[in-house]
């Protein structure tokens, strides 16, 4: 089953996702400023709304420079990979009944596959820059995203067990009586943490820790290639927020308001939470990050899966 209007869905979702993540840059800067007791961008246009536009014009006018010591082909491909993988993940996202690009049977696995391919963007950018700081950022990204992907997938298996399907529309419909955040609260917390790590946001932004690695994997990038990483990061946050809404908070379900409004309200709430995290938490040390992933999160995800499986077997 696919959408009755495939092309309208594709272009609608593309345009909304891209403009939402561009607007998010402004939202984040204003909210961060609010929480840190400053003004933030407030000069360009009303409330500084045109700041994003100004930034875009500036980024397009910058010289798009490829360093002579870089591996040119890989250097150019790397920023494209993150955009492609994140945007492809939006294809399986059920936004409202009928508004979905591809209602795959294995939608959830498709999302996990695309998010695991997204690692290449960061790792290859770090390697191809031919710069030791970038290389270190890329190495950190590889280790971090590998470790957090493992329990990210596992934390979702509880949801799959309850819904009995990998199909995201079925998962949303299975939550008509009870949102999965209640029976799968541990799974939700684990997925949230893994999602922050996948999106490489504070407190897990080790690959671009500016205090020690200049700018990590994108030190050598400029112009629109840097812009791709920048927008790709915000697209990633939007995607993770949307996935949390779909998997644990009933997607488009809600009383009174139309489904699509509920979906965007939920996504926006998680976007604000992501920004609040950045405003309030310091960065972890790398060994803390790895031991948290493997020694705490991984066993918890495994235990969650085993207990959920046992309960589902007993009661069904």
């Amino acid at each position: 089953m696919t959408s009755p209007y495939p092309f309208a869905s594709i272009f609608g979702i593309l345009i909304v996702a891209l403009s939402l993540s561009a607007a998010l840059i402004w939202v984040e800067r204003r909210l961060l400023a609010l929480w840190q007791d400053r003004y933030g961008p407030n000069r360009a246009g009303p409330f500084g709304l045109l700041q994003v536009l100004a930034d875009m014009i500036k980024i397009f006018a910058k010289e798009d420079w490829i360093p002579p010591f870089a591996d040119k082909a890989v250097f150019v491909i790397a920023p494209a990979i993150i955009m492609v993988t994140v945007l492809l993940s939006f294809a399986v996202l059920p936004i409202a009944p009928g508004i979905i690009v591809a209602d795959l049977n294995i939608g959830l696995l498709f999302f996990l596959g695309m998010s695991s391919l997204g690692v290449y963007s960061i790792v290859l950018a770090g390697w191809s820059s031919g710069n030791k700081y970038s290389l270190l950022g890329g190495l950190r990204a590889a280790a971090q995203m590998m470790s957090y992907e493992v329990f990210m997938g596992m934390s979702l298996m509880g949801v799959v067990l309850l819904a009995g399907s990998f199909n995201l529309t079925t998962i949303v419909e299975a939550q008509s009586k009870l949102w999965f955040v209640i029976p799968q609260f541990l799974g939700f917390i684990l997925f949230l943490i893994a999602g922050v790590a996948e999106a490489r946001r504070l407190p897990f932004d080790l690959p671009e820790a500016e205090a020690e690695l200049v700018a990590g994997f994108h030190s050598e990038y400029s112009g629109m290639k840097f812009g791709m990483f920048f927008v790709g990061e915000y697209l990633g946050i939007t995607l993770i927020s949307a996935m949390i809404a779909v998997l644990f908070f009933g997607g488009w379900m809600g009383p009174w308001l139309p489904p699509i409004v509920w979906f965007f309200i939920k996504v926006f709430a998680f976007l604000c939470f992501f920004i609040l995290l950045r405003a309030s938490l310091p960065r972890l040390r790398f060994d803390q990050l790895m031991s948290l992933g493997w020694k705490v999160m991984f066993p918890l995800a495994l235990a969650n899966l085993v207990v959920t499986g046992a309960i589902v077997t007993v009661f069904k």
Binding site: I77, N105, L109, S116, L124, W127, M146
Partner: protein
């Protein structure tokens, strides 16, 4: 639909063969790994076209998304430079090709013979979903699954033994 899946199968199969050949002949390790990723993704499409969506997803998540990332991690750690490229070029030239080519030519002849002789199987169409795969793995193939899990447990124990820090030598990275 079958027509579409069939053409997707053949296109993906050709891409898989080309990218695998490229992966073997590249002299820069990272480029070879990139072609290997393309090859694995193409195999994923082949699985999907054959009616095994779960296998396709697992191919992408586990092989392309995890195992090759580990390869890449190691290659980046070693940070091979121009010297490695030179020796790689030496290995790829001349006589070292002869042995493998003869052996794989025999295998290729065998495969072609089998394809020509064999009855056409059910082929494209029958979808094998996650449920069927799970029932098969935990039904008739249970012993295989258990043996594989024991093997992996052994690997994990071995890796943690090799990775442990010697007593009294504590510090960063533990």
């Amino acid at each position: 639909m079958t027509m579409f899946l069939q053409s997707a199968f053949y296109v993906a199969a050709v891409i898989a063969i080309i990218s695998t050949a490229m992966a073997i002949t590249r002299t820069v390790a990272v480029h070879a790994l990139l072609y290997l990723v393309v090859s694995l993704l193409a195999i994923g499409v082949v699985f999907y076209a054959m009616g095994a969506p779960l296998l396709a997803a697992l191919e992408v998540i586990i092989y392309a998304g995890a195992i090759v990332v580990l390869f890449l991690f190691v290659v980046m750690m070693l940070n091979l430079g121009g010297e490695a490229r030179q020796s790689e070029r030496q290995w790829l030239s001349g006589k070292s090709w002869v042995g493998p080519i003869i052996l794989s030519a025999i295998l290729l002849a065998e495969v072609i013979y089998l394809i020509v002789r064999a009855q056409p199987a059910g082929g494209i169409g029958a979808m094998v979903g996650p449920r069927e795969v799970g029932l098969a793995l935990y039904g008739p193939y249970l012993i295989g699954v258990e043996l594989a899990s024991m093997l992996l447990l052994g690997a994990v124990v071995g890796a943690s033994h090799l990775g442990r820090s010697a007593p009294g030598r504590t510090g960063a990275g533990t």
